[in-house]
């Protein structure tokens, strides 16, 4: 249709029920070409089912999956032209690395010479040059992950899906690979739909983050948007923010159990849920602001995370530089910074 932007992937009211429970509940999602979208959510939120539905491995109970505008209901998994990298890789144990990477090419009838060339090229791309004849059993977790990626990329899928792509790897490897993946996808222009439960991974990888909860989409936006303005208490808490409190907004301030809290201009009025980001909790002298006792302090490398216990109010999370950090048991005062306070949904 002239003038209308064609989405590569569209889900319309996609619903999957397992024994009466909706694992996907009328999910609508669109992914544009060259976009990297990360679905973020706790385990059991329906992320993997979402990928399986797009891949054609899970039949929808209702709703539609469209690829390039075409309804995929009658298209079996092997004809959808999408790639899926499984959580635990699922490399074929009876084939070597090259055999695994070439599998999709063979299925698409690519001739032998081109297969070899593409396998070589991909193994180089994922940083395993010359590994084609190695047995998959001899690979480390990180190497398996790279082979799985090369295998999924080989047939040049129009959409690459990753199920917890870095889930089983150790932390330093994960942090390195997530940067590599980001670069790789940018370089190849691949359209990616990934799912993960790790917000760091999602924020580092994605152009757009989609937060899921109980089979529904809770929020969708750029990493920055989601981080700065969580849609609701669930998203805020899932992102690791614990300073969430009920309050009544009047003008540019709110009444909360922590006392009067200043708000940015144009805040919606009435009873609301508020999020105070840790940087918005400012430590002042003990006789100013809200008096709190330091309940715990955790060294985080660049800063110290504090848990502060006000009298007769929920605890507060705060962050401060190491040299200014009070000891456990000390009494401090707390003031709030309007710029770091968000009025949730």
């Amino acid at each position: 249709m002239a003038g209308e932007f064609q989405m590569l992937l569209s889900l319309e009211d996609a619903t999957v029920r397992f024994g009466g429970r909706a694992v996907l509940d009328a999910v609508g999602l669109e992914v544009a070409e060259h976009e990297v979208v990360c679905v973020l959510g706790p385990s059991g939120s329906g992320k993997s089912t979402l990928l399986r539905a797009v891949a054609g491995l899970q039949v929808l109970d209702s709703g539609r999956v469209l690829l390039d505008g075409r309804d995929q209901e009658r298209t079996p998994a092997h004809k959808r032209g999408v790639g899926l990298m499984f959580q635990d890789h699922q490399l074929f144990p009876q084939r070597d690395v090259g055999g695994n990477v070439a599998f999709g090419l063979r299925m698409h009838g690519v001739d032998r010479a081109q297969q070899d060339e593409r396998v070589r090229e991909l193994l180089e791309l994922v940083g395993l040059p010359g590994a084609a004849r190695r047995a998959v059993a001899s690979l480390s977790g990180g190497e398996q992950q790279r082979v799985a990626l090369a295998r999924a990329l080989a047939p040049r899928p129009r959409l690459l899906m990753l199920d917890e792509p870095l889930g089983q790897l150790d932390r330093s490897l994960r942090e390195r690979l997530v940067v590599e993946l980001r670069e790789l996808f940018g370089q190849l222009g691949t359209t990616v739909l990934a799912v993960t439960h790790d917000q760091g991974e999602a924020f580092a990888l994605a152009d757009r983050v989609v937060v899921m909860r109980d089979g529904r989409i809770a929020q969708s936006g750029t990493p920055l948007e989601v981080w700065q303005r969580p849609a609701d208490e669930f998203v805020a808490r899932f992102l690791g923010f614990d300073n969430v409190v009920e309050g009544t907004v009047t003008g540019e301030a709110a009444d909360t159990p922590w006392g009067k809290v200043p708000l940015p201009p144009d805040a919606p009025q009435g009873p609301r849920t508020l999020l105070v980001r840790p940087p918005g909790v400012r430590l002042v002298a003990a006789d100013e602001g809200l008096p709190c006792t330091v309940a715990a302090r955790t060294f985080k490398g660049t800063h110290v995370a504090l848990r502060l216990q006000p009298e007769e109010a929920p605890p507060l999370e705060a962050a401060c530089p190491l040299r200014a950090a009070p000891e456990v048991g000390e009494t401090v005062g707390v003031e709030f910074d309007a710029a770091e306070i968000v009025v949730l949904g």
Binding site: L57, D68, G69, H78, G83, Q90, F103, M107, A152
Partner: protein
């Protein structure tokens, strides 16, 4: 492409489900047709022959027959000896399964073939070998004056002899593929070695043990040749009684009623089995058996190995040794040389020709059984298999449970007129043998196919493999070993098949077991010796076939 958003209507679920069903029905079409024509129809024919008098059904005969006191006695004996045989076989063979699965010792491959040989020997030969061992003038009688042929022990021991391999193959095969680290994980969680075995390994083995126990029960429940020879007038199973009624008393009506009783009993057992299988299904992550086996360590393990080897020597090797010794009990290989001419007039051709016949028939039967059984197993292995399919699983086992005599006799009376007149066709024998062999193929393939991780298939599908390619690229390489074993089993079973073949093999084209039985049925030392010689040849052919199979297995291990 123009995309207009329309109201999404909930689509009927039935259409979506039927896609999977269509694939399954496609796989099952051939096996179903095969079993309908070559099993259901002949059985129906024989039942009609027995229960229909002058065109009217007389079902009252069912009750009349089973309430007769001698028939009730037969029913009781058939059941309890089968239970006792099954328990005894498991008791003796489970340690063997463990030893074969987990220990590495010299001569293991050969020994694995050796324990399988008894299973494929014709029942009459086994009966005779045990008679020569424990009967009057037998080895034990000569040495210690012990005779067991008047007791039920001879039957039970012969059944253990027969079915040892069933347990070792079915249970040991899976056991060898279980990852020992599962047990190690349990040990680290505080389980004692026995507790780890009981909580981790045993549940994983349970389906295989149940399957093996079921097969042993069915084989011994329908035991024919062994009981015929070792049971004497005292002990008689349903199968022997059916044979007696058919060929000695010519009371087809009573034979048909007994067939129905056996059918119902076997059907009930199989239904129970299908139910337990459904409850225990689980995807196992199998590993290379070569990795899990290691040399025995410590006195306990060496003692276990020694005990298993001793039991194999006493129960399996000794009867075979006696058999060979009897076949050589004439100067200058006299019994063997007598095989090359039809001096006694028992056959129209020299008995030695039976070897070629047997091999040809068995090859054809194996091909049929692998195709039919393989397709059925592929259909049954699908995780979404419904009730209908599971019912078919049980149905496939029926030819094993129904008396082979019934199958053979049914072939003879059902396939002798248009549209399907196969009476004079050579294919009749392989068809009957394939009917008996196909369930083995299904039983061997199914656990392995079910253990293939479904997500590997999904990974292949997402990479563009059609369902057929998925089977070829993912399932086949993983089950190739099981397929070879299944083919070997089908081949060996076909070689040794007796009950059905005896009815339909043409007089001038006898198979080895048929030739042996005919020779045994004739008086005189020469015939007896020739029977022993021919049995020895059959045993050697089976042993060679199995050794080739074992060799194939080791060659392929590198791929896994």
């Amino acid at each position: 492409m123009d995309v207009t958003r329309t109201e999404v209507e909930p689509r009927p679920v039935g259409i979506r489900v039927s896609r999977g069903n269509a694939a399954r029905l496609g796989l099952m079409a051939l096996p179903v047709a095969f079993f309908a024509v070559f099993f259901a129809w002949p059985v129906a024919a024989i039942v009609a022959r027995g229960l229909k008098v002058d065109g009217t059904w007389r079902f009252g005969r069912l009750l009349d027959v089973v309430t007769q006191s001698d028939i009730r006695h037969v029913l009781w004996f058939t059941t309890w000896q089968a239970l006792a045989s099954t328990a005894l076989t498991l008791l003796v063979a489970l340690p063997g399964a463990y030893v074969f699965a987990r220990f590495d010792f010299p001569g293991k491959q050969v020994l694995r073939a050796v324990v399988t040989v008894p299973f494929v020997l014709p029942t009459v030969v086994v009966g005779t070998a045990f008679l020569a061992l424990v009967g009057r003038g037998g080895l034990l009688d000569q040495w210690w004056g012990v005779r067991l042929d008047t007791t039920v022990w001879a039957i039970l021991l012969a059944h253990v002899f027969f079915n040892y391999a069933v347990v070792v193959r079915t249970v040991g095969g899976l056991w060898a593929g279980l990852d020992p680290r599962q047990e190690e994980a349990a040990r680290m969680l505080g389980a004692s070695p026995f507790a780890a075995w009981r909580r981790v390994t045993l549940p994983a083995l349970a389906p295989a043990v149940a399957a093996a126990a079921l097969m042993v029960f069915l084989f011994t429940f329908t035991s024919f040749g062994v009981v015929q020879i070792l049971g004497g007038p005292t002990f008689s199973t349903l199968e022997v009684e059916i044979y007696r009624q058919t060929s000695e008393i010519f009371d087809l009506s009573t034979a048909a009623v007994l067939t129905i009783v056996q059918f119902v009993a076997v059907g009930a057992v199989l239904a129970a089995h299908a139910w337990t299988v459904r409850r225990r299904e689980s995807a196992l992550r199998l590993v290379d058996p070569a990795v899990t086996a290691r040399r025995p360590r410590g006195a306990g393990q060496w003692a276990l190995l020694a005990g298993v080897l001793a039991s194999i020597a006493a129960l399996l090797v000794l009867p075979l040794a006696v058999l060979v010794q009897r076949s050589l009990d004439a100067p200058d290989f006299g019994y063997y040389r007598a095989l090359t001419s039809d001096a006694s007039g028992t056959f129209l051709v020299p008995p030695i020709d039976a070897i070629g016949n047997s091999l040809r028939y068995a090859l054809a039967a194996t091909a049929i059984a692998v195709v039919i059984g393989g397709l059925a197993a592929a259909a049954l292995a699908r995780r979404d298999a419904g009730r209908l399919v599971r019912g078919f699983d049980a149905l496939l086992m029926l030819p094993l449970g129904v008396s082979a005599v019934t199958v053979g006799f049914g072939f003879l009376i059902a396939l002798d007129e248009p549209p399907l007149d196969l009476r004079s066709s050579w294919i009749l024998v392989p068809l009957a043998q394939a009917l008996v062999g196909a369930p083995f193929v299904v039983r061997t393939m199914l656990p392995v196919l079910r253990a293939v991780d479904a997500r590997l298939r999904e990974a292949a599908a997402v990479l563009g493999a059609s369902p057929w390619r998925v089977w070829r690229e993912v399932d086949l390489p993983m089950v190739r070993r099981a397929l070879l074993v299944a083919a070997g089993f089908a081949f060996a079973v076909s070689l040794g098949e007796f009950g059905a073949t005896v009815f339909i093999a043409r007089p001038d084209n006898p198979t080895l077991p048929v030739a042996v039985a005919r020779l045994l049925g004739r008086p005189g030392d020469l015939n007896y010796g020739q029977a022993m010689a021919l049995s020895t040849i059959l045993m050697v052919v089976c042993a060679v076939a199995l050794l080739v199979l074992e060799r194939l297995r080791t060659d392929r291990t590198g791929e896994f």
